[in-house]
């Protein structure tokens, strides 16, 4: 059988109409939408390692639109609806499985926060509802709702349209789509500098030579702050290492994404049967991808309490990635300020996967029209100095039995 490459190698040109720094789903989606929606086909995606090396291939593939603030929900909801369209348009199966998310809470305070999030969703036309503990058990029979655990379950926030998407397929599908429209994907190419002149971006320096470009997008996931430094921009970001792991494969048993803010754990069963689980972040900045025994222990203890059938099941693989956290847990989507032509798509923290394609769609519009699309208004970098954070930190995950 003759195998056909999804995307090939391209000549390394000395100038492009736009350069995306970071060959993950954000950069690839932006290149794809620049070509598809705006006719800008002379673009390059620069990737230090290989497509999907970073956060795009390290996340736990969960998608949802049940955030706390309305600006966020509107954006993520459009992202959720984009998967089906992308799968059709790219002719690539991303294995979107909209199994629904159940976010369990363990206190009155967290229930109050969940109620506000459910109201936000319902006001925005997104399906999300509040369940009591018995309804949680009816939905997920393997869930432990007894009082014999550290944080007994009070109830849950059920979000049926959410689910999981195969993350590698998203990266590969978007790379295929972008390359089909003529985008050049340069892997193993490191950006070492961002050139500016008279307040305008003029190009980037790379390990393979200089590229001139009037538009540069920083979309390098957890490494965004390092790239912004090259242009002299400081950001309110902490790059934190986030860990995840999978168990050995099991027969189908867990048919929803389950998460708990108090236990600091989420779990879902992949289509291969493994229970993918994670959530821990060491709260100090690191550009490393170390995993820690401290966390394996925490994860095993938490999982066995809320999903007791996992007792004795073995972890098979573990890994980590970098999440660039902003103080208000919402991204920074910003451009032409303070440097004309330089665009920022940073600060996604652990929300970068679910938002990838929709961010690409709107960052492409931002770059093509040099004007901020209405839907990106809440995500300006200037909201910090205006003391207008998004309010996302008031989500149910911030409240536990200790509140």
């Amino acid at each position: 059988m003759k195998l056909k490459r999804l995307w090939g190698t391209s000549p390394f040109k000395s100038s492009y109409d736009a350069v995306m720094i970071g060959g993950g789903i954000h950069g690839l989606a932006t290149a794809y939408f620049l070509a598809r929606e705006h006719g800008m086909r002379d673009v390059a995606v620069i990737e230090r390692r290989y497509v999907g090396f970073g956060g795009s291939g390290r996340n736990t593939a969960i998608v949802r639109a049940n955030q706390r603030s309305q600006g966020n929900v509107r954006f993520y909801d459009e992202g959720l609806q984009l998967w089906a369209e992308l799968i059709r348009d790219l002719d690539f199966n991303m294995m979107f499985y909209n199994c629904g998310n159940l976010n369990i809470f363990h206190s009155e305070a967290a229930r109050g926060a969940a109620r506000l999030a459910v109201s936000t969703a319902q006001m925005s036309g997104v399906k999300s509802l509040l369940l009591d503990r018995k309804q949680c058990k009816e939905l997920i029979p393997v869930l432990n709702i007894e009082d014999n655990i550290t944080y007994p379950v009070f109830g849950g926030m059920y979000h049926p349209p959410g689910g999981i998407v195969r993350h590698d397929a998203v990266a590969w599908g978007l790379a295929k789509g972008a390359a089909r429209y003529g985008a050049h994907i340069h892997q193993n190419t490191e950006v070492t500098g961002i050139d500016t002149q008279n307040g305008k971006v003029t190009g980037v320096q790379t390990s393979r030579g200089r590229i001139a470009s009037p538009r540069v997008l920083i979309c390098a996931g957890g490494y965004g702050a390092l790239l912004a430094q090259m242009a002299g921009i400081r950001l309110p970001l902490h790059p934190l290492t986030i860990q995840a792991m999978v168990t050995q494969p099991l027969k189908p048993v867990l048919h929803h994404v389950v998460s708990s803010g108090a236990y600091h754990v989420y779990a879902n069963q992949t289509l291969k049967g493994e229970i993918a689980t994670g959530a821990h972040m060491d709260p100090w900045p690191n550009y490393t991808t170390n995993t820690t025994p401290h966390y394996f222990k925490h994860q095993a203890e938490a999982l066995v309490e809320i999903l007791p059938f996992l007792q004795g099941v073995k972890f098979m693989r573990h890994w980590a990635g970098i999440a660039d956290m902003t103080p208000d847990m919402a991204p920074i989507l910003h451009g032409n300020d303070p440097i004309e032509g330089l665009y920022l798509d940073v600060g996604w923290g652990y929300f970068g996967f679910k938002s990838g394609p929709v961010t690409g769609k709107y960052m492409a519009r931002y770059m093509a029209e040099a004007r901020r699309p209405e839907i990106l208004k809440p995500f300006s970098l200037r909201r910090y100095e205006q003391l207008r954070p998004t309010g996302e930190t008031a989500g149910a995950f911030s409240y536990g039995p200790w509140n």
Binding site: A225, R234, P283, P285, Y287, T288, T292, P293
Partner: protein
């Protein structure tokens, strides 16, 4: 391997005993003529260095002292001011 940092009172201890208190920012900005942007730059923005940086730590599960030390964010290891592992 577990990571450690050195408390000036208790000596080398497990990193999980400590609370991170942000990167060292230097003195607070002058109040005279301070704009919202300059204030935000001083208190909200981080340099987020990739490499050795001076940072604040609090020995939460120990003696309770606040102190600064150097740590390399590319390796997670405590270093001296020049970035050498001590």
């Amino acid at each position: 391997m577990s990571f450690t940092i050195t408390c000036p009172i208790c000596g080398k201890r497990d990193l999980y005993e400590f609370r991170f208190g942000n990167e060292e920012r230097g003195p607070a900005p002058d109040q005279e003529g301070l704009t919202p942007r300059a204030y935000s730059e001083a208190v909200q923005m981080h340099t987020a260095v990739g490499g050795p940086q001076q940072e604040w730590w609090y020995h939460r599960d120990g003696c309770g002292v606040w102190f600064t030390t150097w740590r390399d964010t590319l390796t997670g290891r405590e270093t001296d001011e020049k970035g050498n592992i001590s």
